[in-house]
């Protein structure tokens, strides 16, 4: 990589706000402090949390509020304590930052770039974050908040760059060579496009391909649950599917009802009624385009697949597979999901595949779920979380330890004295 070449590549610097700049200028970063979980970096994230939660526009966006809460001091301190425990558990290891991290953020969930960056920043790295060029209001506001914060925070401003550029392999190639760790969000296409670009022989990489998520519900537990639980589940399911038009990787598309066939109808009726009530309670109205999208998808599917569609449903469309039909992994989005039945959890283990990420669940014991995770094994499923937590960010994502990724493990052993 040469500076001359980098000076011909132009990117749009968004935070610190800087307009169009040459990549060479952008990469002239201040030396980092190199100390993971430093007090100043924790302080910066706590400040960021406050700014997000006080921004009128972001406060209206549920996913930004969740981000603001995740960044608050108590949670960062919790991560910090985990980091200390990690150190204590490995007395022969010194954890240092990976160095320079290049993040490519996904286009569907505006907040992901902040999570990815924040963990890396906490770990003491320099960061270049490429965000989507199609800026939504939420994305612009988050970048605005970061930009403002940088004005009074030289450590933040010195070592972090949030930028965007049109698809340009030369820029991605230069940033890849610059980095010591590359994180590719954005699904199969982005991974395929960028993975071909070489990294430094010493660099590492984490990629997040396109994923499929589903939901498992015990019919007996669901029918046995009280109204309050049912309402809470409906509220949680609503969040799981409607926050990002059901296009987040962890939003469920298939609902597997586990139990006996003769209880399936009453369970589905209860579920649909509770969801309709929740939609009503929130006064949620999707766009007519979303409703048309679901309709087109369901009709097209029904031409070739044996299933049942209920056109009376509002704001969502539940498609039901007949007994014994093969489960499918199609993604429609915008509130379409498919019901299927399983006699027991082992059928889910057999279904598990490499694309499977999140299984949201209700009505199973920890032991049952752990057994299921083990049985699905290497083939699939990265996380089992309760209904309502599909979109909750975790430092373990797609089965990988993100904090571990952002650190290098230096062995320090002394000879016996």
């Amino acid at each position: 990589m040469t500076m001359a070449a980098d000076n011909e590549l132009q990117v749009q610097l968004l935070a610190p706000a800087g307009g169009v700049q040459s990549l060479g200028e952008v990469l002239a970063l201040a030396e980092a402090t190199w100390e993971p979980f430093s007090a100043s970096r924790r302080q910066t994230l706590a400040q960021l949390s406050r700014l997000i939660l006080h921004d009128a526009g972001l406060r209206a966006d549920a996913s930004s509020v969740a981000l603001g809460y995740w960044l608050r001091r108590a949670n960062i301190d919790r991560l910090s304590q985990e980091f200390e425990r990690r150190g204590a558990a490995a007395p022969d290891t010194v954890l240092v930052p990976a160095g320079r991290v290049f993040h490519v953020a996904p286009g569907n969930v505006d907040t992901v770039f902040v999570y990815s960056w924040a963990l890396s920043y906490l770990c003491g790295n320099q960061n270049v974050v490429r965000v989507s060029g199609q800026q939504t209001e939420v994305l612009s506001r988050l970048l605005g908040v970061l930009s403002n914060l940088m004005r009074d925070d030289p450590e933040l401003a010195g070592g972090n760059r949030f930028l965007t550029y049109e698809h340009d392999q030369a820029i991605s190639a230069a940033l890849s060579l610059w980095s010591s760790h590359r994180v590719l969000w954005g699904g199969d296409e982005t991974v395929a496009l960028l993975r071909a670009l070489p990294l430094s022989p010493h660099a590492s990489e984490r990629t997040f391909g396109s994923k499929f998520s589903y939901c498992a519900i015990s019919i007996a537990a669901y029918l046995g649950a009280g109204t309050e639980t049912i309402d809470k589940l409906a509220a949680g399911f609503f969040n799981d599917i409607f926050w990002f038009d059901q296009m987040a990787c962890s939003s469920p598309h298939l609902l597997v009802w586990v139990g006996s066939a003769d209880q399936m109808n009453p369970a589905l009726d209860r579920f649909h009624q509770a969801l309709a009530k929740e939609i009503e309670r929130r006064g949620y109205r999707g766009t007519p385009s979303s409703s048309m999208h679901r309709l087109n998808f369901a009709f097209d599917l029904a031409c070739e697949t044996d299933l049942r569609v209920d056109l009376k449903q509002k704001e969502f469309l539940a498609v039901r597979l007949p007994e014994g039909a093969a489960w499918r992994r199609e993604i429609c989005g915008a509130g379409l999901f498919t019901h299927a039945r399983a006699g027991d959890l082992s059928q889910l283990a057999e279904f598990g595949g490499q694309r499977d990420q999140t299984v949201t669940h209700f009505g199973f014991s920890r032991a049952e779920l752990r057994e299921l995770a083990l049985k699905a094994g290497a083939r699939g499923v990265d996380r089992f979380v309760p209904i309502g937590e599909a979109l909750a960010f975790d430092t373990t994502w797609d089965g990988y330890d993100l904090i571990g990724d952002f650190l290098r493990h230096v062995t320090v052993r002394v000879g016996a004295s």
Binding site: G107, H293, D300
Partner: protein, 369 residues
């Protein structure tokens, strides 16, 4: 296909003669007949009726509003055909405006003939029985290659039989051949011509050019038929009223008739009535549905347009849910001199903008031609 008393009734009447209630009853009979026919002969359609509309009992609807319908996009993703491949005499393809996938509509001889018969009747209602000189506000190259399936070319080919001595008023570079046009009009003097063109092209390559050249034509008795939607003119803030006013001023055309139709239901088109609303002939009707609940809506309320046509016998396109928004404006109004319902189009539903995680680096999408 077998004799159909309901279809015979429709074909025996003039296109705007039957009062709404009477027409609706006949059309419901015909729609039941067609629904049954397609259910028996088109497997994907049978699957839809069984899986989405509750099975064979859905064939026994009393009201037209309760007839099964098919979203128009399905003709882009599925081969929907109720006759054997050998019986297909013509396949209409249409990209609509969205540009990507193409609809395929399979016509057998019977359906193609029905379409022509009803189209003639509708056209004659507005243009008279005698064939008139016809001026296309387009260039001849769009029809030169009859294999090419451009929507513009197809529309012109569909119009050709209704006129005579076709003249193409644009050169291939889209400039107006004013000299040629004036010569043509001189040669056909005394026979009021029919002009035909796409709404936006009529505006950009005819009206605006005449205005710019400060030339005025005098075309007493001429009729302009135009179609293609108002979207581009809306962007220029040109209302239908202004469109008509300036056509009159620049070209002297008093009779300007917009029409609405789709490749999926050729033959039962909707022409503008004297109140400037789109009017259903007896061969078809309009149902407006709530965009959210799909419930049928009364006049005055905006919703999705469903089009029911008595003609499609070789493909299950007799009851289509479009992605256009519209509102019913009235029915059997003496002021229009026509029976039946009329409506207004409010635009097209935008495509759902669902952001996949993979659109991180979107490849630039070329604008549709």
């Amino acid at each position: 296909m077998n004799a159909s008393p309901s279809l015979e009734k429709l074909l025996a009447a003039a296109p705007y003669s039957l009062p709404q209630k009477e027409k609706r009853a006949i059309l419901a009979d015909r729609t039941r007949e067609l629904t049954q026919r397609h259910y028996e002969r088109c497997e994907p359609y049978r699957n839809l009726v069984d899986r989405v509309f509750g099975g064979a009992r859905a064939l026994q609807f009393a009201r037209l509003e309760d007839a099964p319908f098919v979203p128009v996009s399905l003709f882009k993703t599925r081969e929907l055909r109720s006759v054997g491949p050998g019986e297909v005499v013509k396949t209409i393809t249409s990209s609509g405006t969205s540009g990507q996938a193409v609809s395929r509509i399979y016509l057998d001889a019977g359906t193609a003939q029905l379409q022509s018969r009803t189209l003639v009747k509708i056209m004659q209602h507005f243009l008279g029985v005698a064939r008139r000189p016809m001026v296309f506000l387009d260039h001849s190259a769009v029809v030169r290659d009859r294999q090419s399936s451009s929507a513009r070319g197809a529309a012109i080919l569909g119009m050709l039989p209704f006129g005579r001595q076709p003249f193409y008023a644009l050169r291939e570079d889209m400039t107006l051949d004013l000299e040629g046009l004036e010569k043509y009009l001189e040669g056909t003097r005394g026979q009021p011509p029919v002009f035909f063109g796409f709404t936006f092209m009529v505006w950009q390559y005819f009206v605006e050019i005449l205005e710019k050249l400060n030339r005025r034509l005098s075309l007493p008795g001429a009729v302009l038929l135009h179609s293609g939607g108002w979207k581009k003119l809306e962007a220029l803030q040109v209302s239908p009223e202004e469109f008509r006013r300036r056509l009159l001023a620049a070209a002297g055309i008093e009779s300007v008739i917009n029409y609405y139709g789709m490749a999926e239901q050729v033959g039962s088109v909707y022409f503008e009535n004297p109140l400037h609303f789109l009017h259903a002939s007896i061969y078809s009707d309009v149902i407006i549905r709530d965009t959210n609940t799909l419930e049928p809506l009364p006049p005055g309320r905006a919703g999705l347009i469903q089009l029911v046509s008595a003609l499609p016998a070789s493909y299950p396109g007799h009851s289509l849910l479009t992605e256009d928004l519209g509102v019913l404006e009235g029915s059997d109004n003496p002021a229009t001199g026509m029976n039946g319902q009329y409506f207004r189009i409010l635009g097209r539903l935008p495509k759902a903008e669902l952001r996949g995680c993979s659109d991180t680096f979107q490849k630039p999408v070329p604008a549709p031609a």
